[in-house]
Amino acid sequence: MSWKNLEDPENMYEAKRLLTLDANVFVAALKRDEPHSDERVNILNKVPTKFLLCEPSIVYQEVCGTVARKIDLEAAKHAEQSLSKLIHPLLLITCDKLFYPLYVQGDFKFGKSWWCRAIWYYPRMDPVMIPLWYRGRDLGIEGI
C-alpha cells in the first residue's frame, strides 16, 4: 500500500516509498563542508519523484532551530516555509502523547526516538529511516 497519483494515469501505480530523515540529514545537506553533504543532497533530490518524506513535527524545531542559531532568523523562516512545502501535511506526524504508544511495540534498529516513531506510524508503507551516519548503500535501500 502506498501513494498513488490518480491525476497521472501513466504513473498511477508508481508507488513512492516513505523516508524519514533525521533532522541532521537536512542540516548536513545545507552545510557543504560537512562529510557526505553531497550524499544528503542526493537523497533530498529524490523527493518527491522516488520518495516522500514522513517526518515527526520535531523536525521543525531541530532543523529551523539549528539554522536560526547558526545563521539567522530569516534563514530559519525560509527553512520553515520550504519544509512545509516539502513534507505533506498528512505525513507530518505530531509529536504528542497520542503518538507515543505507536512506537513502544516495535523492535527498533536505530533506537527509540521520535524519528523511529514516525516510521511506525505508517508501517504498511514500509518506510525507511535515514540517520545521519548513513553512508551510501550500506542500508541496502533500493533507489538511494
Partner: protein
C-alpha cells in the same frame, strides 16, 4: 440511501479497487469508500500533481539555503556536535 454511479473507470483502477476491497475485507463498494476515507491518515491516500509540484518547489527552496548556510557556518562545530549540543545529550 443515496446511490453513487461512477462512469469511465479504467480497468487498471477497477482492478486496484477490487484488490483494495479484498485486502480491506469490505463486503460492499460503499464500505470500501468509507474505509478509504477513514484510514486516509494511516496508510492509504492519494496525492495530486499539484501537491507533488509543491513538494518539488519546497525541496528546491530548501536547498537554496545551502549557499547561505555554507558561507556563514564553516568548520566546527559540525552538524552532529551542534545537534548533540542542542539536544543536550550525547548519542552514539
Amino acid at each position: 440511501m443515496p446511490t453513487l454511479l461512477i462512469k469511465n473507470v479504467s480497468e487498471e483502477l477497477l482492478s486496484e479497487l477490487r484488490r483494495l476491497k479484498k485486502e480491506l475485507k469490505c463486503k460492499t463498494w460503499s464500505e470500501l469508500l468509507e474505509k478509504l476515507v477513514k484510514h486516509r491518515q494511516r496508510g492509504i491516500f492519494f496525492i495530486s500533481n499539484k501537491e507533488l509540484k509543491e513538494m518539488e518547489e519546497g525541496k528546491e527552496e530548501f536547498l537554496k539555503l545551502r549557499n547561505v548556510v555554507s558561507e556563514k557556518w564553516v568548520g566546527e562545530p559540525g552538524v552532529l556536535e551542534e545537534s548533540r549540543r542542542s539536544r543536550k545529550h550525547v548519542r552514539g
